[in-house]
Symmetry: C2
Subunit: 151 residues, 2 copies
DNA sequence: TCCATATCAATGCAACTGCATCTATATGGA
DNA sequence: TCCATATAGATGCAGTTGCATTGATATGGA
């Protein structure tokens, strides 16, 4: 028999989690907008692609690494390509697929985004909790992940 | 001089916060959909209105209590009204305004939503951390709120 | 080889969001 | 009283998301 009614502590943690994450996300989006930069979603993709290096990534790999839906990635990549931040290359051994590679312009945009994004994280998170508490927070959040294992 | 570059601990906490909150939110939305229920946003409003009781709330009060933008509340209320879950009443002493009151049908929908929503919270949050950790989590998240005071 | 099924990615359509603006009423001061 | 300004809420429009489906290639078995 599974428990179906949440404890007050669970409800409170949930409510805080929802509220704080939305609030902080909004602040970051605002900071990016103020600096004339693209939305946060672009950063996530550019970040993954930058880490992947010259080999690039397949769209389905981006879906695995980020939390975007397939159609979302498809259109996001179309926008990034239109802006010259990525390029789509055909894949030799799979005619259905493509490899996505970040361009120089893409790296530059990512860098400028990080200037605003990183500053926001420092102010909104880093400056509000000591390192020890930040680590505790990360650990506790980690236990809520799905699947509840790995890093 | 303000620090502009976030610590690794801050980055990790931030990343977890974003990822976990999105993941959990999505799971809750899925659970609601599977039960043929409206999206989470509707719950937030119905919840506030149910707590407010017969006196109802003005739209701007809903904006204060939730994190919705003005235009968002305006249209959300239109949908809720179209579904008969709320009613809009004129305000005696302010011709610009209206009072929003939840209907019986609204309370019933809220109740059915809570059955799925509460179960999700119990499974996704309550079952994954002991009460003490849930309280710690809520406290730490509370320090990230804006403004960083009050409850 | 041929076909059924699976996988990769794109897209039509309806709903929703964000932004800016608009209408209507309220309020305070000249 | 009259007007400038402020506040409450709605809305047009463009961009984005979610859902379902489609087009295209791959793969494995008969």
């Amino acid at each position: 028999m599974t428990k179906t009614s949440p404890s007050p502590a669970a409800i409170k943690a949930w409510a805080r989690l929802m509220r704080v994450s939305r609030q902080l996300m909004e602040k970051v989006e605002d900071a990016l907008k103020e600096n004339g930069l693209p939305p946060l979603a672009w950063y996530d993709v550019l970040h993954e692609l930058a880490e992947a290096g010259e080999g690039g990534l397949r769209p389905f790999q981006l879906i695995e690494r980020t939390l975007f839906a397939q159609y979302n990635i498809s259109r996001l990549l179309a926008r990034l390509e239109a802006d010259g931040l990525i390029e789509k290359l055909p894949v030799a051994d799979d005619g259905r697929g493509q490899t996505i590679r970040i361009t120089g312009s893409g790296r530059e945009t990512r860098r400028r985004m990080w200037a605003a994004y990183g500053r926001s994280i420092a102010e909104l998170v880093g400056a509000r909790l000591p390192v020890e508490d930040l680590e505790t927070l990360a650990t506790l959040l980690g236990r809520l992940r799905d699947p509840p294992a790995g890093d």
